[in-house]
Symmetry: C2
Subunit: 387 residues, 2 copies
């Protein structure tokens, strides 16, 4: 018998979330992460109530709240003229409706919290281990000849190499690229006050800027995203900083100022894949971005990975009477339960991207529609936050 029930390949937010949830349910879990440490380059991320409900059930919400910020609201503005179009108030009514708060947090901080939680739960965490060979058969899984388990989870992200065992698609480039920056507030001057308390999104033709506070308000997080003309031309090297400035040339001063707080030495081209429900091959299942990579316009990448982890642990718990555990059935039930919802999130994220980046008549219609929205109209998020 193997000394491990579940092998998790990938130690990002999804991998550690799964490991923690399964370990808390009494399963023996080992995580193999190819990086030398459980850390990640990145900046802020958003945790909507569908994710913070999971974190609270896991007993981790207080740590998340301590490390992050509860913004007052999500504000949507037009990047060209700077007008506020609408907002989603994160007030008591919001928290009551969705049963949990909206939180923004540094990606590193969330990863640290999950890492510590895994350690407390007895997860076997192994960094610096890249899986080169995974055998999956009727009896179990084996990674690189040494790590044996009853089941494996591929939590290896957008560029998942394990996904190619199930489907032959490749990531689809949106032609958009993101620049990020997370700086101490003390290093930032001239930022609009609301960006220090709210999630502020400015959307413009072919570009947008997102800003929000991190670490109890001590940091400002900025993300700028734009359609690369170099990508459209077919350039090998596209999306460079010179394109960044040009893409935002027509935006209002508040947006232009925001560009100063971006790291210019790295960038993230934005990819997704089309939805698939081919997530499971016997004792191997895809999870998180490996299963359903999405564009970031709904800010749901991490949230859906946490929902995955919660769901899978729940399917395992429902079947805990079986001895030995029927992992193929647990994994199949997980995929059945999750694939329609994540497909909708993937598809809707694409549409929201169009909505954010439109121009001309479409922009006029979008602005009219958002400006006319009642502040307590939740139709655009109920489906996502209520689950």
């Amino acid at each position: 018998m193997a000394d491990t029930d579940v092998l998790v390949i990938g130690g990002g937010i999804g991998g550690l979330g799964n490991a923690y949830a399964l370990a808390s349910g009494g399963h023996r879990v080992r995580v193999l992460e190819r990086s030398p440490a459980f850390t990640e380059v990145g900046a802020g991320l958003q945790l909507a109530p569908n994710a913070t409900r999971v974190l609270r059930e896991w007993g981790l919400l207080d740590e998340v709240l301590d490390a992050g910020v509860q913004p007052r609201r999500l504000v949507l503005k037009d990047a060209v003229d700077g007008t506020e179009l609408t907002s989603l108030e994160f007030d008591k009514g919001f928290t009551a409706r969705y049963g949990a708060p909206y939180v923004v947090i540094h990606r590193t901080d969330l990863l640290d919290i999950l890492h510590r939680a895994c350690l407390r739960a007895g997860v076997d965490l192994r960094a610096g281990h890249e899986v080169r060979d995974l055998t999956v058969d009727d009896r179990g899984v084996r990674a690189d000849g040494e790590h044996e388990a009853d089941a494996a989870l591929a939590a290896d992200g957008l560029w998942s190499s394990l996904r190619s065992r199930l489907t032959d698609d490749t990531p689809i480039c949106s032609g958009y690229v993101a620049y990020r920056g997370a700086l101490p507030v003390s290093e930032v001057t001239g930022v609009d006050a609301d960006a220090l308390t709210d999630v502020v999104v400015h959307f413009g033709p072919g570009c947008h800027l997102v800003q929000y506070p991190l670490r109890r308000g001590e940091m400002l997080n900025t993300v700028a995203v734009f359609a690369s003309p170099g990508y459209q031309r077919g350039d090998a090297d596209w999306g460079g900083p010179e394109e960044l400035d040009a893409a935002f040339a027509g935006t209002c001063p508040a947006v232009q100022r925001g560009l100063a707080w971006l790291w210019r030495d790295r960038r993230w081209p934005m990819y997704d894949r089309l939805p698939t429900d081919t997530w499971v091959d016997g004792r191997l299942a895809l999870t998180g971005d490996a299963a359903h990579p999405m564009l970031q316009y709904l800010a749901q990448g991490a949230c859906q990975a946490l929902e995955d982890a919660h769901c899978l642990a729940g399917e395992a718990a429902k079947r805990q009477h079986a001895e030995p555990a029927d992992w193929p059935e647990i994994l199949a039930a997980f995929a059945r339960s999750r694939s329609a919802r994540t497909a909708r999130v993937q598809s809707t994220a694409r549409i929201w991207g169009e909505l954010w980046h439109c121009d001309g008549l479409t922009r006029s219609l979008r602005n009219a529609l958002l400006t006319g929205r009642a502040l307590d109209d939740y139709q655009y998020v109920d489906w996502l936050y209520l689950d």
Copy 2:
């Protein structure tokens, strides 16, 4: 001294409207129309309150109401799925707000009413006379060496030859073509009941269909408009009936049925021009489509021509103490008074065309915006109907 004060070149709705208004104000008017009779090929047209107010002031509204129909409402529907998006109720509130009713009428009937009114007012009506030469100088105007007057109005329509004396533009083809049909209701089967009482507009991607009753409900008027792929390809002959059927292939059954009631042996390619305020050269002024041809999406072509006529006669009346009448100043005042408004109508008509014919995300936004509109929200028409 000439026996005529004002020579009107063109005997369409705008020309006869001007002739009648000026003659009612005591001016001696002669109309030169190149066709052998004061008639016109066409089907229905819409008269919004900004036009019916003018007709009432002229004492012609009762005749118009007798010949036409007061529809119950304007209904906007999606041509693809057939859903009703919103409506503008032509109820007592509407009539009270705008001071006059909404009327649809056969083009021929309106022209007849204006023609009879001109005869009663003593207008000198001359059909079968195409103006080949117009002399305009400080002292007066002279057409073809025989028709002398103090001033001339070019009411010669979209393709105005007189306009070329003032500006060197040419009509701009939209690439859309209209098919029309006006049939006795007895010849029509299977039409939706609302098309016999309402103005029903179905808009779809690259196409739309408009239907409404005429002649006290005895006739059904149908207009189908679509973007011609042949025009896009640069074909010499474009917009034929085979394109008509293809353009509407994706529409709902109610729209498909409507295509049966179109004349297929003639069609109207749709043109406009960019706004200009160069309408006047001394004693010559452009009016109606010659001054501000527009796409038909606001159904304002005839309405704006009638507004022009009302305005010009008003400017003349304000200056009736001057002897002799200062026509250059009257015409200049008319152009000053009218050019900004008609420019807005021209520009907005183009945008409404985009709005009617959009697809994808833009269509979704449009439908959401219209579906959410309160039935007593008049923001989209106040600017146009209140004047």
